[in-house]
Structures are given as structure tokens and as C-alpha cells.
């Protein structure tokens, strides 16, 4: 239907998405520089380069081009900075993983294709659910909830323990999928039950138990299963996402107070029962107590960062192999070692840009499901990033979470891409049909700020906000 509009032809979209094009090209240039640095470091260490060594960069470039072209051809109206930020972060991650030797021994199709596959998942999600179609997902409430519980339970039954956590076959972590399915389920539930959950006790600060019990029970089961897996990071991520979606869905900040109280109590309870957690807290508070055992990993990571200093030793020159499991949980300290404090600041700024965009998506002006889904996905990304970076810098105890887009791990990467795909779809907004008349004015905007976004105020005036979510689905 949008193809019918005059300004949604290929040429117009090509022009409209010039911000994305410019940013993606800049990303590619930046990553190429980093790639040359790493290859140079490897050559000095005596490695013979082959044509295959250029493949990761080439695939990355192709994937960026593919994403951009697909979005342009489809006349996608959604956000452009979001794609570019994700492109930068995942390119950075690609460099870091290449540097950690991920591609050296057996550059199989799986490893090579992971980032391009992520981009494909993102584009597919964005296009499939664009134009307001993402609201279909709200119908699958019980599917998302059931899928999440089944995944956790199945992993608990069939998985094998390693380093305190539970893994499925081939060291994959299927529970990563929960980082998308749980926000989906929560948003769908809150969209339906939001008004009922907002009716608190008239005088006492008590939530409506009758409307809440089902949600609470399901979530308690989920958290309990995760506790059995000792996946503290996932518990924190999903718990906070739960609270944020609950609060933004009902407008009742009392849920946050109750939730944080319950979370603190649960945390204290878990610490008394799990020796594992106590040791982590101790290693966090005073790693010098037992520097060669419990404190070893964090202190090695910090040593690397100290060695890196302000500018870093240079990509590919550091010795991150001295930090155990550097490629997954401690990739941040590898970046700190090789690109220095400034490299870390740049990385954090990119995460902040990504998050600012996602937070704006969760703001007003969208249908309830879109807002809540954006809020949930944003919380997941923010908490996950903070847990990883905070853990690697000893700001908080280690929780064993990955750094989105950067850390080693296929499931984590693909999930993060899928989440961004959904957010892109949400950013595309509601179906354009009601606004058609006003679109004729768009031609004026050429040469000014990007046309896809500028006339929004006109639309906002023409169409009342809540009407942006018509019951078309």
C-alpha cells in the first residue's frame, strides 16, 4: 500500500535513507582500518595471509550493502541510526572475535556466516513486521510464554553443567532466545491486562492480586527454573525487564518498589543457599584475598586494561590470552587492553546512542504493544550491557552475561539482532494509510532534513495519537 505513494519509489527511498548509507559506509571504512591493524599484527607474529583472511571483512561489507539495499527496495520508513549503530557494534565485535582467533583454525561457514546471518535476521524481522504488522505478535502471547518456559525446562533436563552454568548440545545457550520471547510475552500480556493491573487498592499501596496472580506465578516459575540453572545474569535481565514493562504498562511505579524489594529479598535468599554466589561476591569485594584463584580472572582482565592505558597497545598487539574466557565474558577488557580507555569510551557511547534511540521508541506516540515491547527489549539490552561491562571492570560482581553484538556466542548475537529487527519494525510506525493526504506535502522537504521523519509533526497533528493504532490487525 505504501508503494502507492509518490515518495516511496526507489529513488525517493534511496534519497531518504542517505543517512543510513553514509553511516554504514563510514562503519565499513572504520572496520577496514581495524582489520588492517589486526592483519598487520598477525603478519608480524609470523602468520601467512591468504585470500581467505579477507573473507570476514568482505562478508561484513556485503551484509551491510545487503541490509541497506533490501531496506531501500522495500521502501522501509523506519529508523536509520539504529541500523548504523548496530552495524558499528557488530563490526567491532567481528574485529574483536577475529582478533581472538575465532576464524583462524577452522574458518567454517558457521563462524564466518554468523554476523551476516545476524544482519539477515534483523532485516527479515524489520521488514516482516514493518508497517504496523508487528502487532500480530501480540496474539501469540501464550506461545511466547510457553516457548520460554519449555526452553528453560528442557535445557535444565537435557543440558550439561560447565563452569557453573548449564549448556545445551554444542555449548549453545538456547535460553538466550528468552531475551526476545519474554519481552514479547510481557508486552502482549500488559497490553491486554494493563488497565486491570493499574487498579490498585484505593487506600493501601497494594497491587490488584486478582489480576496479577497468573502473571506472577508464571514469572516465579521462570525465575525459579533460571535459579536452578544458576543463571543469575538472565534472572536480573528478565526481572528488570518484567518490572519496567509492568510499570510502563500500568503507569504504577509502586510495582517498581515492590519488585525491587522482592528482588533484594530473593537475592539475599539465593546468596545464603548458593555458595557459588557467595564466592563471587567475595571475589568481587576483595579479589586480592585469593588473587591466584577466585580473583584471577578479574585481576587479569584489569591488568590487561592497565597495560592498555589511555590509547591501548593497538588492535592485535595485546595479550588477551592471559585472561580466561576473554572472548565471551571479558571481551570488554580485551578492548580496554588493545584500544585503551578511549576505545572503551567510544564503545560505550555507541551503546548509549543505540539505547537513546530505543528509549525514544518506547516513548509515547505508538500503540501500547509497540511501546511495551520496545521498553522490554531496551531494558534487556541496557541491563545486559551494564552487567557485562560492570562485571569486567569490577564495578559489580560477575554475572556471566555476554556483551551484546561484541561477545563470542551465536545465540546471543542472533537474539540481539532479532531484537533490533523488532525495534526497527516498531520504528516504522503504524500503517501509513490514514496519513496519505498529508503526504503530498512531502516533496517540499527534499533537501531539508530527511523526509521520512520530518513531516511527522504534521501527521501527529492530523491524526490523534491513539488513532495511530487502528484495529486493522
Amino acid at each position: 500500500m505504501s508503494a502507492a505513494c509518490a515518495d516511496t519509489g526507489f529513488a525517493a527511498t534511496w534519497f531518504r535513507r542517505r543517512a543510513e548509507r553514509e553511516l554504514l559506509l563510514a562503519c565499513l571504512g572504520c572496520m577496514a582500518l581495524g582489520f588492517v591493524l589486526i592483519l598487520g599484527a598477525e603478519v608480524t607474529q609470523g602468520r601467512q595471509l591468504g585470500a581467505l583472511d579477507l573473507l570476514p571483512l568482505a562478508l561484513y561489507g556485503l551484509a551491510l550493502a545487503g541490509v541497506h539495499l533490501l531496506l531501500v527496495v522495500a521502501g522501509f520508513r523506519g529508523d536509520q541510526v539504529l541500523t548504523a549503530t548496530v552495524a558499528f557494534l557488530s563490526g567491532f565485535g567481528l574485529l574483536a572475535q577475529y582478533r581472538m582467533g575465532d576464524f583462524h583454525n577452522d574458518p567454517g561457514a558457521l563462524t564466518l556466516g554468523l554476523v551476516p546471518a545476524g544482519f539477515f535476521v534483523m532485516t527479515a524481522c524489520a521488514l516482516a513486521f514493518a508497517d504496523g504488522r508487528y502487532r500480530v505478535l501480540a496474539r501469540g502471547l501464550w506461545f511466547w510464554a510457553g516457548l520460554s518456559l519449555v526452553l528453560v525446562a528442557a535445557l535444565l533436563v537435557t543440558g550439561q553443567r560447565f563452569r557453573g552454568a548449564v549448556y545445551a548440545l554444542g555449548f549453545t545457550t538456547p535460553t538466550e532466545v528468552l531475551k526476545v520471547t519474554i519481552p514479547l510475552a510481557l508486552a502482549a500480556y500488559l497490553e491486554r491486562q494493563g488497565p486491570a493491573l493499574a487498579r490498585w487498592h484505593p487506600r493501601l499501596p497494594l497491587p490488584p492480586w486478582r489480576a496479577l496472580w497468573l502473571l506472577l506465578t508464571l514469572f516465579a516459575v521462570l525465575i525459579g527454573l533460571l535459579a536452578l540453572q544458576r543463571d543469575l545474569g538472565m534472572m536480573l535481565i528478565l526481572g528488570l525487564a518484567f518490572l519496567v514493562v509492568l510499570v510502563s504498562g500500568t503507569g504504577r511505579s509502586g510495582y517498581l518498589v515492590w519488585g525491587l524489594l522482592a528482588g533484594t529479598g530473593l537475592g539475599a535468599l539465593m546468596l545464603t543457599f548458593f555458595e557459588h554466589g557467595q564466592r563471587r561476591i567475595e571475589a568481587w569485594l576483595d579479589p586480592f584475598q585469593d588473587p591466584t584463584d577466585e580473583g584471577w580472572q578479574i585481576l587479569q582482565g584489569l591488568s590487561g586494561m592497565y597495560a592498555g592505558g589511555l590509547w591501548g597497545e593497538g588492535f592485535g598487539i595485546g595479550s588477551p590470552e592471559y585472561t580466561p574466557i576473554a572472548a565471551a565474558d571479558f571481551i570488554y577488557s580485551v578492548i580496554g587492553e588493545e584500544l585503551g580507555f578511549l576505545g572503551c569510551v567510544v564503545l560505550v557511547l555507541f551503546f548509549l546512542i543505540l539505547l537513546s534511540r530505543e528509549i525514544a521508541l518506547a516513548g509515547p506516540g505508538r500503540c501500547a504493544f509497540g511501546r511495551l515491547l520496545a521498553a522490554g527489549l531496551t531494558t534487556v539490552l541496557a541491563v545486559q550491557t551494564l552487567l557485562n561491562i560492570g562485571g569486567a571492570t569490577k564495578s559489580i560482581p560477575l554475572t556471566g552475561t555476554t556483551l551484546p553484538f561484541i561477545s563470542h556466542g551465536g545465540a546471543s548475537l542472533l537474539t540481539a539482532f532479532a531484537a533490533v529487527g523488532l525495534l526497527l519494525a516498531i520504528s516504522d510506525g503504524a500503517p501509513a494509510r490514514p496519513a496519505k493526504p498529508s503526504r503530498a506535502t512531502r516533496g517540499r522537504a527534499v533537501g531539508g532534513p530527511p523526509a521520512d521523519l520530518k513531516p511527522r509533526k504534521v501527521r501527529g497533528k492530523a491524526v490523534p495519537r491513539e488513532a495511530a493504532a487502528p484495529s486493522e490487525a
Binding site: 595471509l49 536509520q80 585481576l299 592471559y322 580496554g336 560505550v348 525514544a360 530527511p450 495519537r465
Partner: protein, 535 residues
């Protein structure tokens, strides 16, 4: 293929001499590129609004502010490790011993030197074959004070107490802050620590060690006015240049790790009579006590406490009639056990406990900044006597029984007598201000006691060292030990009229204090005053 292979070209470029410079350029270019992406993303972020339009404060909402604050907090904490990790002594020590990254600047820190008061080097760092070694030119002579800093065994002594300063982490002047900044910015970082000056005098220390020779013992020389320690000589000691695990493996002959002066607890014997005399003067004692040859005991069941003269007369086969009635000054000069045992019993155990408290017994005194227990001074140990244990009190009053004291603490007692009763905390770092340890006695008591101690040397047990042209005041001690010959003690100060130095000498199982410890003290005092060790 006739065309030039770009990969081959790249390989030869990397191999060329230009590569290090090129690598830096690429490194910088990578940063610039990342910043360009950041800047453009920021620009587009503000130019493009999300559809449908959100409010004007859409991208600057409070959740974003909270997140930004959280990330800033993490980055700030990260900087406290990554950029200013030098300020975390434990962290630097960890890296120096456990980090195998060769480019880690912690490995190349040229720790500051440790100097004696004349600027002679007691410890310094040398770079050899890309590694930095700690060298102690005097070997074991200063081992207990200077300590050691070793990747395998950590650090003790001044090396541990001033670790941050020696690593260059306590910038005090503007210039040293600038140096820290330079080290942060440049890649040629070789942090250079700051020097540390000790109050020790290496010449006197070596003399003390030479006079002790092979005997086990300790010599402490300090300035009464400010507590500066000039000599802290222990024998035996270990060589910090050659540390090995066997040194730390259980008790070894002579216990070379033990800092005898500050951590060794010995029966003080007659030297303790200084404390009891001060108690008697403050209590207003005058008159005489009868000191018969058959000694003094509190009960028939216990053997009597007798004077040394009785035993030497017995050994020579002579008869000795006892001192008879003695006043305090004479009893002190003659070091009469019978007199002081009676004195202690006369004033009772409560007065004894109060005196011990006033003289800072049963305390741990910090010698260096920081909380290294190894660097503490254990003052001594007084027994908790039962009310009925009068014999124990009599024994304690002559510095035997269960009374223990460390040599350094006895030095502070001698110094307090020389300093109008005010004891100064012994200090080893020149940069530390002088601090008081406590007023052990009144000024009048100190003056009277000083005269009594002078008399010990002119007429009493210390007559043997009265030949020098130096007026020494002091007290000898011959403390019975459980095994072997008695410990030989001397504590004192000089010149008696205007005290500048206080001294303590202990020779384990050395025999008579007057003949073994006192001459060492005399030689040291003469030499020290020759060298004019003023403040």
C-alpha cells in the same frame, strides 16, 4: 598471475621498518574513523526524528539519563584501575608478580631508591635485559628495616610501607603530577618512583653490626627529641638479594627473619629497674630499705631473691654481708635485686599495672605508615598478677619472671628519661612528622632518674665504660634466661647533661651487661657524637 599480489605487498610492508610508525598512524586513524561515525550518528540522531513524532524531550528522557549516569559511573570506576591503577598498591603488586604481559608498565616501574639519612643507597632498582631487579647494596645489614620487594614473596618493611610512593603513585608536587600525565599519554612509559629517605645512619649501623659480630643480638640508637631511629641493627639477618623459599619455611637456626629490635620479646632484667625507680620516685619514696645478704622472699616456700654480689662472692668463696640499708639512688647504682623486689611488693600490683600502662607496655606501635603487622613495634608484655601472687610481683619488679620487653621499647624508655619524661614514637621515615608515644613520667622524675643513671656509670655497675671523654648515663642488665647464659643488656643516653642520643644494646646469652653490652653502647655513642648526628 602477473599482477602484484596485494597480500604479498602488505606482507612486505609489515616487514619493513616503516611498519611501527604506520601502525601508530593506523591506530590513530581507526580512532578518528570511529569518532567520525560517532559524530555523524549523533548528527543524524538529531536531524531525524522517529515516527510518529515524539515529544521534544524524546531522546533526552529520564531513563536515558539514568542509563548514562550508570555507564559514566562504570567508566569512572574503570578509569580508577586502567588509568590510575598505580594508586592501588595491591593491584600493582599483583601485576608485578602475576601479569605476563611484557608491555605492562608495572613490570618496568623503576621503583624509587631507599636512602639513609646521608643519601647512601640502601635499595635501588636496576634494569637488566629488559627486566627490572631490586638491588640491596648492603645485603643483610638493613634487611629488617628496608625489607624487600620481590615478585614471588611480596614486600615487607619500608618497601611495603611506602610501596605507593616507591612506585611513583603519590604525586606531591605539580611536576610529579605532570610526570604521571606524561606516562599516561605516551607509549614510552617507564614510570619512575620516588625516593624514600630513612632516618638510619648507615655508618653507625655497620659499626653496630661489626661490634655485634657473630653474636645474636640487637642494637638500637635513636634521637630522644624526635624519635628518629639512627641504628636498628639485628643479628642475624637475611639477605634480601637472595630470597628463597627455605627462608620462610618454619623456624630456622637464629631466626634471621625476626626483627629482634621491634618484635623480639626478652626478659629485661635489671634494666627494668628504671621503670620501678620511676614508680618509686613518683610515689614519693624516700629513706632506705634493708637489703640483707640472705635476700628477700614473700614466703618460705619460694627461694629468696638475692643480689648478684652474693653469687659472685659465693663463687669466689668469700663471705658477703649484704648491702644493709640502701637508699634508692645507691640501690639503683648497685642494681640491688633485694631492694627493688621489696619496693615492688611494697607498692602492690595495682601500682605495678598502672606503671606498666603508663610506660606503654602491652601495645602495638606503628613504625611505618600503613597497617603492616610485620612493621609494628611490640612494646612488651607484663603479667596479670593474682592479688595473692606477691612472689610473682617481686620477680616482675626486677624484670624477671613473666615480664617481657622488646629492645626498641626499652630504647624509648631510656629516651624518655633523656627527654623530660616524654617518649617519642620511634620513626624510620624522614618524611613522617615526629609524634609522641606518651609521657612516661614527670619532668622532675625524669631529671632525678637521669642523675641516677649517670651515677650508674660513674660509680655503679657501669663503671667499666666511664673512661671515655663522654658523659654517658645508663643502666646495665643481666637477665636470666631459661636456656644458657643470661642476656646482656645496656640502655642509656649521652651526653648526660644534654642528651642527644639514646641507645639500647642486647646480646643474647652474652653474660654480664656491664662487660658485654655496655662497651658496644659506649663505642657507638662515641662514634655517633663524633659524627655530630644532630637533628
Amino acid at each position: 598471475m602477473t599482477a602484484i599480489d596485494p597480500l604479498h605487498l602488505f606482507g612486505s610492508l609489515v616487514g619493513s621498518a616503516a611498519w611501527p610508525a604506520l601502525r601508530l598512524v593506523l591506530h590513530l586513524a581507526f580512532f578518528i574513523a570511529a569518532c567520525v561515525v560517532l559524530w555523524r550518528a549523533w548528527a543524524w540522531l538529531r536531524l531525524t526524528e522517529l515516527r510518529p513524532a515524539v515529544g521534544a524531550d524524546g531522546w533526552l528522557s529520564w531513563p536515558l539519563l539514568v542509563l548514562t549516569a550508570a555507564f559514566l559511573a562504570v567508566l569512572g570506576y574503570q578509569a580508577s584501575w586502567q588509568l590510575t591503577g598505580l594508586f592501588r598498591p595491591q593491584f600493582v603488586a599483583f601485576m608485578q608478580s602475576h601479569d605476563r604481559r611484557e608491555f605492562n608498565p608495572a613490570h618496568r616501574i623503576l621503583r624509587g631508591r631507599i636512602l639513609d639519612r646521608h643519601g647512601r643507597i640502601l635499595a635501588q632498582s636496576r634494569e637488566l635485559e629488559g627486566r627490572v631487579w631490586r638491588v640491596y647494596p648492603f645485603g643483610p645489614a638493613f634487611a629488617h628495616t628496608v625489607g624487600y620487594s620481590d615478585p614471588r614473596f611480596g614486600a615487607i618493611g619500608a618497601e611495603a610501607a611506602a610501596n605507593a610512593q616507591l612506585n611513583g603513585a603519590t604525586p606531591q608536587t605539580l611536576a610529579s603530577w605532570g610526570e604521571l600525565g606524561r606516562q599516561l599519554l605516551t607509549k614510552t612509559k617507564q614510570p619512575r618512583g620516588q625516593d624514600l629517605t630513612l632516618t638510619l645512619d648507615s655508618e653507625l649501623q655497620l659499626l653496630a653490626l661489626q661490634r655485634l659480630g657473630e653474636r645474636l643480638g640487637t642494637v638500637v640508637l635513636l634521637r630522644p627529641k624526635d624519635g628518629a631511629v639512627l641504628v636498628l641493627a639485628n643479628s642475624p639477618a637475611f639477605d634480601p638479594n637472595r630470597l628463597g623459599p627455605e627462608l620462610f619455611r618454619g623456624p630456622s637456626p637464629g631466626t634471621p627473619l625476626l626483627n629482634r629490635a621491634t618484635q623480639g620479646l626478652y626478659p629485661p632484667g635489671s634494666v627494668f629497674k628504671v621503670v620501678m625507680a620511676a614508680q618509686a620516685i613518683e610515689a614519693g619514696f624516700s629513706g632506705t630499705l634493708n637489703c640483707p645478704a640472705e635476700g628477700f622472699t614473700t614466703s618460705r616456700r619460694y627461694p629468696p631473691i638475692r643480689d648478684h654480689d652474693y653469687y659472685s662472692a659465693q663463687k669466689a668463696g668469700r663471705a658477703w654481708s649484704g648491702f644493709g640499708n640502701l637508699d634508692l639512688t645507691t640501690a639503683f647504682a648497685e642494681s640491688s635485686n633485694v631492694f627493688f623486689a621489696q619496693l615492688g611488693v611494697r607498692y602492690g600490683r595495682d601500682a605495678f599495672a598502672r606503671t606498666g600502662e603508663r610506660f606503654a607496655f602491652d601495645r602495638q606501635v606503628r613504625l611505618y605508615p600503613g597497617t603492616d603487622r610485620y612493621g609494628n613495634l611490640s612494646t612488651g608484655r607484663l603479667p596479670r598478677l593474682a592479688p595473692t601472687d606477691l612472689y610473682g610481683l617481686a620477680q616482675a619488679s626486677i624484670g624477671q619472671g613473666r615480664v617481657l620487653a622488646s629492645p626498641m621499647h626499652l630504647a624509648t624508655i631510656a629516651a624518655a628519661v633523656a627527654n623530660g619524661g616524654l617518649a617519642m614514637r620511634p620513626r624510620l621515615l624522614v618524611q613522617e612528622p615526629a609524634a609522641s608515644l606518651g609521657q612516661y613520667m614527670t619532668v622532675q622524675t625524669a631529671a632525678r632518674l637521669a642523675g641516677m643513671m649517670r651515677k650508674v656509670v660513674t660509680q655503679g655497675t657501669g663503671r667499666g665504660i666511664n673512661d671515655a671523654g663522654l658523659a654517658i648515663a645508663g643502666k646495665t642488665g643481666t637477665a636470666e634466661s631459661l636456656r644458657g647464659a643470661p642476656h646482656s643488656w645496656f640502655i642509656g643516653f649521652a651526653p648526660a647533661g644534654d642528651p642527644m642520643l639514646a641507645v639500647v644494646v642486647l646480646v643474647e646469652h652474652g653474660g654480664f651487661g656491664s662487660s658485654v653490652a655496655a662497651p658496644i653502647a659506649r663505642d657507638l655513642l662515641v662514634k655517633a657524637l663524633e659524627l655530630r648526628v644532630g637533628p
